[in-house]
């Protein structure tokens, strides 16, 4: 697979098309937070986790917990790209017989690592995986992707306090900071700012990047490989609905599937990005 930045960008946009198709076929789901997330997952899975069908359940694999579980179409799309999910299975998303649940369920499909969808819990599970790696002196990394609205949850702040205390420098959190939740823009509903300052005060190694600049994502994740006693937090500034002009809005496309005409319009825009 060509892993140059332009090739990854193209892959990410192809996966955006997969996401739109899946959500349209399902007739429900979360486009905004899937589209804001896919660039991050593309870099992490293809360049760092290097997920393959063969290593998907290897005890020594790098792990990623999608704490904002409603972004799971992006996770399924990237796992299909890695060969873990047959591409034709993607459109079974959310159907009664499918293993592709509407939110990650490791009992239905183990490569999602953990069951999420109730916000605020994933970071604690990722922390535990990082602690297990330390206990067993294993070199694997644990990634956790969170939403900005999600970061309002109390449990998230328990983990944010706890992980630095346990010096989990094998833990890399990436915040999909798309500035929107359901009832409104995140800073109006419950402001997280000044977020970087809070996290630094909690003793995290903090970086802030443009979450749609694949080179910047790559550089930040590369830096976060350092094991110097601090867990890593990458604040990725993103746009909810990124890549489809009419979906780029902090709330409008949080939780509704595109109809046939919208699907066609979205795919047309995304295909234009491929050329």
């Amino acid at each position: 697979m060509d892993l140059t930045i332009p090739a990854l960008q193209r892959s990410a946009n192809e996966m955006r098309i997969d996401i739109i198709r899946m959500l349209h076929a399902a007739g429900s789901g979360h486009p905004g937070g899937s589209l804001s997330l896919i660039d991050i997952l593309t870099v992490v899975f293809l360049r760092y986790i290097k997920r393959t069908k063969e290593n998907a359940l290897d005890p020594d694999r790098h792990r990623l917990v999608l704490s904002k579980g409603h972004g799971v179409p992006a996770l399924y799309a990237v796992l299909a790209r890695c060969g873990v999910i047959p591409h034709e299975d993607l459109i079974t998303l959310r159907q009664v017989g499918s293993y592709l649940q509407g939110h990650p369920h490791n009992g239905s499909f183990a490569p999602v690592e953990a069951s999420t969808g109730s916000l605020g819990q994933g970071l604690s599970m990722a922390q535990g995986m990082a602690m297990a790696a330390k206990l067993d002196k294993k070199p694997y990394k644990v990634y956790c992707v969170m939403g900005d609205g999600e970061t309002q949850e109390g449990q998230a702040w328990e983990a944010l306090l706890s992980a630095p205390h346990h010096k989990l420098d094998n833990l890399i959190v990436i915040l999909d900071y798309n500035k929107g939740q359901i009832d409104g823009p995140t800073n109006e509903i419950l402001n997280l700012e000044p977020l970087g300052d809070k996290l630094r005060a909690f003793n995290w190694d903090v970086q802030e990047i443009d979450g749609h600049d694949l080179a910047a994502i790559d550089a930040a994740v590369a830096r976060a490989q350092a094991e110097n006693g601090q867990p890593h937090f990458i604040i990725a500034n993103t746009i909810k609905g990124k890549g489809v002009s009419f979906m780029e809005h902090p709330t409008e496309w949080h939780g509704k599937a595109p109809n046939a005409a919208e699907t066609e319009a979205a795919i047309k825009e995304l295909e234009a990005l491929l050329n």
Binding site: Q101, G149, Q181, D183, I189
Partner: protein, 307 residues
């Protein structure tokens, strides 16, 4: 026309805003889904958007209640009742006059799957000795329940549906707190049903008439305190008891009825409801899959009575 009980709730809450100045409403980033958005629009100074913080919402509402306000706190039932230990201390044990409004109950929410489905919420709330639990089965009953709860000086839990429900009651319907609601008489068995599946249970009973089975159907809107005397009476009169609910059969209506009958009127029972985790699918597919559609209820009731 079919109407979701969360919609009925949202409409009635706005009405109550005018007559109940002490009424305050909280939500945790789901006001469009829970329908508290209408109250928020009309009474912004009495609406508190807490963000995605269910624990804190429960505690803050309890504090308001202990300071003389009447809070309704809204979220998907699984997220708010899921913070059970906070409810237990800050609302139940603190005797805080808070109504917990849990929407999106049961597998009938469909495609989002188990993480968003409340299947254990009744079971949890039933263990709190002072918790009122109401689950309405149609629009009229939902509105009446909301009106009742606005004046109810007690911790309470109101369980509401995402999906539309058919009307079961006419304009003359009178909601009687703590009293079972007899929908259909019958002598061979009694079905106690609650919430969104009452309609399917009623239709199943009607259709079983042609198979020679006379089945009584009782809507249990007040799960706590349960109308135990009427439950016992029905068991005595019919000799066979079935419960139907979109909830775990452990600790829900089935559990509540079994507890009463076990002590007062031991009767052979069939509990119809959830026995496993939920999953994704359309609401219709899931009801067929889990046997909660009309046919599924019919099949299980017939097998129980004829078996």
């Amino acid at each position: 026309m079919a109407k979701a009980t969360r919609v009925s709730f949202g409409e009635e809450l706005v009405e109550l805003g005018a007559t109940h100045p002490e009424l305050v409403v909280f939500d945790a980033d789901l006001s469009k889904s829970t329908q508290s958005q209408h109250f928020a629009a009309k009474y912004p100074e009495r609406f508190f958007e807490m963000g995605i913080q269910e624990h804190n919402m429960i505690g803050a509402a309890a504090g308001m209640a202990l300071s003389g306000k009447k809070p309704f706190i809204c979220s998907f039932s699984t997220f708010v009742v899921g913070r059970f230990e906070v409810i237990r201390m800050s609302i139940g044990y603190s005797e805080a006059n808070v109504t917990v409004v849990g929407t999106h109950c049961g597998v009938a929410i469909g495609e989002d799957g188990y993480s968003q489905m409340a299947l254990e919420d009744i079971a949890l709330m039933r263990t709190l000795p002072n918790m009122t639990i109401i689950q309405p089965a149609d629009d009229r009953e939902a509105k009446a329940a909301v009106r009742f709860l606005a004046d109810h000086q007690n911790p309470a839990f109101l369980r509401l549906t995402r999906q539309g429900l058919e009307d079961l009651h006419g304009d003359d319907y009178e909601f009687r707190f703590g009293k079972a609601d007899l929908l259909r008489d019958g002598s061979d068995a009694v079905i106690f049903a609650t919430g969104g599946v009452v309609y399917n249970a009623l239709k199943a009973a009607e259709e079983l008439e042609s198979e020679g089975l006379s089945i009584r159907v009782v809507n249990i809107h007040t799960i706590a305190p349960l109308d135990a005397d009427f439950v016992v009476q029905c068991a005595k009169e019919t000799g066979r008891v079935i419960t139907v609910e979109d909830h775990s059969i452990v600790g829900g209506l089935g559990g509540a009825v079994a507890e009463v009958l076990g002590e007062r009127q031991p009767t052979l029972m069939k509990r119809i409801g959830m026995t496993e985790y939920g999953r994704s699918g359309t609401p219709e597919d899931l009801y067929v899959h889990f046997g909660l559609d009309r046919e599924g209820v019919k099949r299980q009731v017939a097998a129980f009575l004829k078996g």
